[in-house]
C-alpha cells in the first residue's frame, strides 16, 4: 500500500475564505491527481501533475488551483470558497507506465 496523506479530513468553512487542502505522498510517485466527488456520484478529475513544476487541468472545470514544487507535495487551493465547492476532494498518486493510482482518505469540505 502506498502512503498518501490528506489534511484536513473534514473542514467546515464560511463563504469567501481561502483554503488549502494538503496532499502528501511518501512513495516518490511522479504522478499526482486531485478528484472531486459528491456523495453517490462520479469521481471527476480536476487537476493532475506529472512531476515537479507540471500541473494540468482535468476534465471538470474547477476554480481551484494547484502547485507541485516538491515531488511529494500537491496542495489544492481555493481562493474564495463558495457553497458550490462543498464536496469530497480525493488526492491520488501513481507511477508512470501502468497508471495505477493510490488514493488518500479524502477531505470532506463544507462551505456555509
Amino acid at each position: 500500500e502506498a502512503d498518501i496523506y490528506q489534511t484536513p479530513r473534514y473542514l467546515v468553512i464560511g463563504t469567501g475564505k481561502k483554503i488549502t487542502l494538503e496532499c502528501s505522498q511518501t512513495m516518490g510517485h511522479d504522478k499526482m491527481y486531485w478528484y472531486q466527488q459528491d456523495p453517490g456520484m462520479e469521481l471527476h478529475l480536476i487537476h493532475y501533475s506529472y512531476g515537479v513544476n507540471s500541473t494540468e487541468k482535468g476534465d471538470l472545470s474547477s476554480e481551484s488551483t494547484v502547485s507541485r514544487i516538491r515531488t511529494e507535495h500537491f496542495p489544492l487551493t481555493l481562493e474564495s470558497a463558495r457553497p458550490s465547492h462543498t464536496s469530497q476532494y480525493l488526492c491520488a498518486s501513481g507511477t508512470s507506465g501502468t497508471d495505477t493510482q493510490y488514493f488518500g482518505p479524502g477531505t470532506r469540505l463544507t462551505v456555509l
Binding site: 504522478k31 478528484y35 456523495p39 462520479e42 469521481l43 478529475l45 493532475y48 506529472y50 494540468e56 482535468g58 476534465d59 469530497q88 480525493l90 491520488a92 501502468t98 497508471d99 495505477t100 493510482q101 493510490y102 488514493f103 488518500g104 482518505p105 479524502g106 470532506r108
Partner: protein, 112 residues
C-alpha cells in the same frame, strides 16, 4: 479516447461468484485495463490490472479476450464486505499526458 461501459448495478448473494464485464471498444495498443473498488466516503482502491489474457491475485481475477475490447472482473465467493462500487479504467491520452475517467462504475450489492 478509450471509453468504458459497465453495468450500473449488480446484485449477488454471499458466497457466489460475481463477474462484472466492462466494454472498451476503442482501447489503444498501449492501454492497460485497471479495476478499482470504492467504499462510501473512501477513495478508490486498486484491485487488479492487466493487459491481455488472464491475471489473478489474492482478491480477484481479470479476464481479457484476445481483441481486448472487453474485460471481466471476477470476484470469487463474495461476502457482504464486497458491497462497493467497482470501476473499470482504461489508460487514455489527453493532450500531452494521461487523464483517467472513472465513469459511474458498477454498484455491487451483496446480500445474505
Amino acid at each position: 479516447l478509450a471509453k468504458t461501459t459497465q453495468p450500473i448495478s449488480m446484485d449477488s448473494y454471499e458466497g457466489q461468484e460475481v463477474n462484472i464485464t466492462c466494454s472498451h471498444n476503442n482501447i489503444a495498443t498501449n492501454d492497460y485495463i485497471t479495476w478499482y473498488q470504492q467504499f462510501p466516503s473512501q477513495g478508490p482502491r486498486f484491485i487488479i490490472q492487466g493487459y491481455k489474457t488472464k491475471v489473478t491475485n489474492e482478491v480477484a481475477s481479470l479476464f481479457i479476450p484476445a481483441d481486448r475490447k472487453s474485460s471481466t472482473l471476477s470476484l470469487p465467493r463474495v461476502s457482504l464486505s464486497d458491497t462497493a462500487v467497482y470501476y473499470c479504467l482504461v489508460g487514455e491520452t489527453w493532450n500531452s499526458g494521461y487523464a483517467l475517467n472513472f465513469g459511474k462504475g458498477t454498484s455491487l450489492l451483496v446480500t445474505p
